[in-house]
């Protein structure tokens, strides 16, 4: 395959903003995205992004995708399996869509949802165990559901699920909501459909064809049909480490303020970087900087 100026790995706000900028710099660009739109596509309502008083995560994600496609950049929906150095550039190998030779790389690989790590979790995924509240909340109309977690994502999920379910339990390991926005915590505590069980961990999930019950570490059992897992995200920068990209002890990619990694020609942007604030607007800004950095290097013939 002909060499691209820029190959962007990741299709969330960081990767797609990098693509938009790259298109305007006339860089020959490819985007490889395991989940086009990224995790923001699973977000509920976004109310802190300029231009929209309020926009749904799915709408936001789709409009980014459409904007990139309209600029003539193809988004290959596949997983990048590996990156190798090749001459002055790189080769990105995908699992099923072949190789993408590139002068420069932007790693916008984001983070992955943390799972409970319990037996039966995988078997019951999609059969009651849910990882996308915006996708699946409306399917629990009139049913009983649980949410695991106590951060903003968990509380947003609880409020969303409560719009449909007749009863929502929140299972949270701590004695209070210390990490979530106070406004969200207040809305959750005041919602009559929501019952918060502090100091509780789900230790077992049970069900044959579909989820039926969870067992808590305090001995309680709760019968429910849905369980929304919202216990945060974790980085997986393995693909970057293989070419010598440095990460923090927690696994986030180290970047300078122009989004350069320690490897020449490799940039990183968005949630995978050691950013202070994991938000759409930050990811988008970093994506723009990364594309600009790649453009500057290419212009100089580096």
């Amino acid at each position: 395959m002909e060499q691209f100026d820029l190959v962007i790995i990741g299709g969330g706000p960081a990767g797609l903003t990098a693509a938009i900028y790259a298109a305007r710099y006339w860089l020959r660009t490819a985007v490889i995205a395991e989940q086009p739109g990224g995790l923001v596509g699973e977000a509920g309502k976004i109310g802190n992004f300029p231009t929209h008083k309020e926009i749904n995560g799915p709408q936001f994600a789709m409009s980014m995708i459409e904007q990139v496609r309209a600029l003539g950049i193809e988004i290959t929906n596949d997983k990048a399996g590996s990156i190798e150095k090749s001459g002055k550039g790189f080769v990105v190998r995908t699992e099923n869509s072949g190789e993408f030779p590139a002068k420069k790389i932007v790693l916008a690989i984001g983070t992955k949802r943390r799972k409970l790590g319990l037996p039966n979790e995988q078997r019951l995924a999609g059969k009651g165990v849910c990882y996308c509240a915006t996708c699946d909340a409306p399917l629990y109309k009139g049913k009983v559901a649980g949410v695991v977690g106590g951060g903003n994502a968990a509380l947003n999920a609880a409020l969303l699920v409560a719009e449909y379910a007749k009863k929502v339990f929140v299972f949270y390991r701590s004695p209070e909501f210390g990490r979530a926005d106070p406004l969200l915590a207040k809305l959750v505590m005041e919602n009559k459909k929501i019952e918060v069980l502090f100091n509780s961990n789900v230790k077992q999930i049970a069900g044959e064809d579909s989820l039926q019950k969870v067992f808590l570490d305090n001995g309680k059992e709760v019968e429910l049909q849905g369980l929304f897992v919202e216990i945060g995200y974790e980085p997986d920068a393995g693909i970057a480490k293989a070419i010598g990209v440095e990460t923090t002890p927690e696994g986030y990619i180290k970047v300078d303020r122009h989004q350069h990694t320690n490897v020449k020609g490799v940039f990183a942007a968005g949630d995978i970087t050691e950013s202070g604030l994991r938000q759409v607007i930050i990811a988008a800004a970093q994506g723009a900087l990364a594309a600009n950095g790649a453009f500057e290097e290419i212009k100089k013939g580096e």
Partner: protein, 111 residues
């Protein structure tokens, strides 16, 4: 293209999915407008239906407009894709997979 795929509702589900699956595999894609992974998967399924040229028929089912079908098939996570043969579900997956992975799933299960 239309012959390889259609929007299916509760009214024509028996005919288009159950009965037709006696002759060739029918792949039902349960989706909703509010679900981004569904919006990614649906065009990929449409493209694959065209590419497979009638080796399977794609039945797109909007869960919001067809709650009876969601209830009947216990849809509790979307996108939910089920392959019917002989009137029965023989393979399924939930959540969007990249297009190449869906192609492999189809190749494996159509046989």
């Amino acid at each position: 293209m239309a012959e390889f795929e259609s929007d299916v509702t509760e009214a024509d589900f028996e005919e288009t999915v159950v009965k037709q699956s006696a002759n060739l595999p029918v792949v039902a894609d349960f989706w909703a407008a509010w679900c981004t992974p569904c919006q990614i998967l649906k065009p990929a399924m449409e493209k694959l239906a065209k590419e497979f040229k009638g080796k399977f028929v794609l039945a797109k089912i909007n869960v919001e407009e067809n709650p009876g079908l969601s209830e009947r098939f216990k849809i509790s996570g979307i996108p939910s894709v089920k392959m019917f043969k002989g009137g029965k579900v023989v393979a399924e997956f939930t959540g969007a997979m990249p297009e190449p992975a869906v192609r492999q799933w189809l190749e494996k299960n159509i046989k």
